[in-house]
């Protein structure tokens, strides 16, 4: 087990730079999830850590040792691929054993290790099967098993759940998290799914266009998004962003509505975006910050999402699942001031 450090990592293909200086410290045993839209550079970063892509500049350290010029096998890592990369012509056991092929361990120890891993992953009775006889989730476990037998310092997961159906994905999410609690290795996990990131990570790294947008625990990135991109990317449905003006700690929205925000960095821009999550925006006729007409309802059972047409544009709010307003109703919406976020409308940076 070991920590991992990225120092000002860049990657260029020809003259196009796709990663612009990634710096990150991952502690020993930490579960870090890289998340971002496709093309943000998260997979490239992972492949550079694995040694499958060369680094253009910057330093990668695993366990305090610079690994830039080491072959993948010398980096003490293991990787689980999106398509699992398990060999269709080999049995499960041979697939798992493939991870140990180059190790100089005695044969009996290898066998013991395979059995041990199969036990942890609950697939001792599947060892003699061929991958074609396995379900998607089982194949996924074989791929994880092959990574586990190597007992690497760092596990790398490249969108391993995206080929599974929704239900299985939820289940594997839990299994991987439990596995991490049990074996305790450092894990770097790449995904484009913010729910996966939120549910699994100790810390989330949110990336966009080759830049890190924010690094923080799931709670931090959800409640204290560093900018509008993070605010909209994390959480579903996305945060509402309303344009307004900042005057001291007072935010004025389009109409005559205004709201005082505690702790906003005064003296900043005057043009701002006011962010409020649908979860925090409720029917409130006592202290409304917005009013408008309901255009659409999305019942989710316990609660109902309501789409409201307001002078600041269409926004989403949450109402009780039992007594939601009806389409066409005029509603007034309010939120607790501490749940409001203020962003500079030019740079998108958070001001709260």
């Amino acid at each position: 087990m070991a920590n991992l450090a990225l120092r000002n990592l860049t990657k260029s293909y020809g003259t196009t730079e796709v990663l612009h200086g990634i710096t990150l410290d991952v502690a020993d045993g930490e579960f870090v999830v890289f998340v971002g839209p496709s093309g943000c550079g998260k997979s490239t970063t992972l492949r550079m850590i694995a040694g499958l892509e060369e680094t253009t500049s910057g330093i990668i350290e695993i366990g305090g040792r610079e690994v830039n010029n080491l072959e993948p096998k010398e980096r003490d890592i293991a990787m689980v691929f999106q398509n699992y990369a398990i060999y269709p012509h080999m049995s499960v056991k041979k697939n798992i054993a493939f991870g140990l092929r180059s190790s100089k361990m005695p044969k009996a120890d290898k066998e013991k290790r395979i059995q041990e891993v199969a036990g942890i992953l609950d697939m001792t009775d599947l060892l003699d099967r061929k991958p074609s006889q396995l379900s998607g989730g089982q194949r996924q476990r074989v791929a994880i098993g092959r990574a586990m037998v190597r007992d690497p310092a760092v596990f790398l997961f490249d969108e391993p759940l995206s080929n599974l159906d929704a239900q299985l994905r939820t289940q594997m999410r839990l299994e991987i998290k439990k596995l991490h609690q049990r074996v305790g290795n450092t894990i770097i996990f790449v995904t484009h799914d913010q729910v996966e990131a939120m549910t699994m990570a100790d810390r989330i790294v949110i990336m966009k266009d080759g830049h890190i947008q924010q690094v923080g625990t799931p709670t931090e990135v959800f409640h204290k998004p560093a900018n509008t991109f993070v605010a909209r990317f994390i959480g579903a449905p996305s945060m509402n962003l309303l344009s307004g003006e900042l005057d001291g700690t007072l935010v004025r929205l389009n109409a005559d509505r205004q709201v005082r925000i505690p702790g906003v960095a005064a003296g900043g821009a005057t043009n701002i975006l006011l962010g409020v999550r649908p979860d925090d925006l409720h029917l409130d006729s006592a202290n409304p910050i917005l009013s408008g007409k309901v255009t659409l309802l999305e019942p989710l059972g316990a609660e109902t999402l309501i789409y409201v047409d307001t002078p600041s544009g269409e926004i989403i709010a949450k109402a009780d699942g039992r007594n939601p307003p009806q389409v066409g109703d005029a509603v007034q919406l309010g939120a607790a001031p501490e749940n409001l976020h203020v962003f500079d409308s030019a740079s998108g940076e958070a001001l709260t």
Partner: protein, 295 residues
């Protein structure tokens, strides 16, 4: 009436409408002559006179014909030498060409070119390569190094490999293309996973690449085997003065059939040889499919 048919029946009607032409073609051009050849193999016929019943006479004659056994052996030497050699060569070329970016398309074109070239032209060029000094290319090169002359086409031992070489070369381009398609179909993540597991290139080749190329290999083996069992034009053109010579050392079965039919005008005997060739092709293909089929 058509209107009253069910959707399924209408589909069948259309399917047969489109199938009618190829079915007719196959019956007239393929199945009828095949059946006729089998019939002729039990008859005597000189192409002009009447066909008379001969029973198993032609087959008995074949069994007792030393030339047939020589030709039979030659045919299998073409097969057993040509198929593995062309398989290994084309795989080695495809394997390395696949890793090459520089001039990839140009090199691929160069390898494919002989496949598009007429076998006759090629055979005559190779014939020139094989001549004695001062004409032949190979012997001139040998002479340049002071190495004694090799008689390629005039030696009973060298002639067959000398004829086989251009045949292998001609088929190479096609096999290289097929192998490259097979190699491209293997997901790169398999290789990346192996790289992370730290296994050497030989393990990757024998444990990953070759097993996953199995369907491609089966196709090429069966395809090229049939080609070598039917070898004719290279032999005929490289030994025109004495087809299949010297002393029948290069004569394949198809050339013997041609000779019997159109020089000897013994159609019954030629048909019997054809039936034997057909049987050999069938058996060899079936054995290969059985052996190479995945468990």
């Amino acid at each position: 009436m058509y209107q009253k048919l069910t959707i399924r029946q209408k589909q069948i009607v259309w399917a047969w409408a489109f199938l009618a032409v190829p079915v007719l073609f196959y019956c007239v051009i393929r199945f009828y002559p095949t059946a006729n050849a089998m019939l002729i193999s039990f008859q005597d016929w000189n192409l002009l006179g009447d066909r008379t019943w001969a029973g198993f006479e032609n087959y008995q004659k074949l069994w007792n014909d030393p030339v047939f056994w020589k030709v039979f052996r030659n045919t299998f030497v073409y097969l057993l030498l040509g198929t593995p050699v062309s398989l290994v060569l084309s795989f080695v070329i495809a394997y390395h060409l696949d890793k090459l970016r520089f001039m990839h398309g140009f090199l691929r074109m160069l390898y494919f070119l002989p496949f598009m070239t007429s076998a006759v032209a090629m055979a005559w060029v190779w014939r020139w390569f094989y001549q004695d000094v001062p004409i032949g290319l190979f012997n001139n090169i040998l002479a340049g190094f002071g190495i004694p002359q090799i008689s390629f086409l005039n030696s009973t031992t060298n002639a067959l490999p000398a004829v086989l070489a251009p045949a292998v070369w001609a088929g190479l381009g096609f096999q290289v293309i097929i192998f490259m398609a097979g190699l491209r179909a293997i997901p790169t993540s398999y290789y990346e996973a192996a790289k992370i597991d730290g296994v050497g290139w030989f393990t990757v080749l024998t444990q990953i690449t070759l097993p996953l190329l199995r369907p491609t290999i089966i196709f090429i083996v069966v395809f090229s085997s049939i080609g070598f069992l039917r070898i004719f034009d290279h032999v005929f053109n490289m030994t025109t003065n004495n087809p299949g010579g010297p002393l029948n050392s290069t004569k394949p079965l198809v050339l013997m059939i041609y000779d019997t039919a159109f020089n000897g005008f013994d159609m019954g005997y030629a048909a019997a040889q054809t039936v034997v060739l057909f049987t050999i092709l069938l058996i060899v293909s079936l054995i290969q499919l059985r052996l190479l089929r995945s468990e």
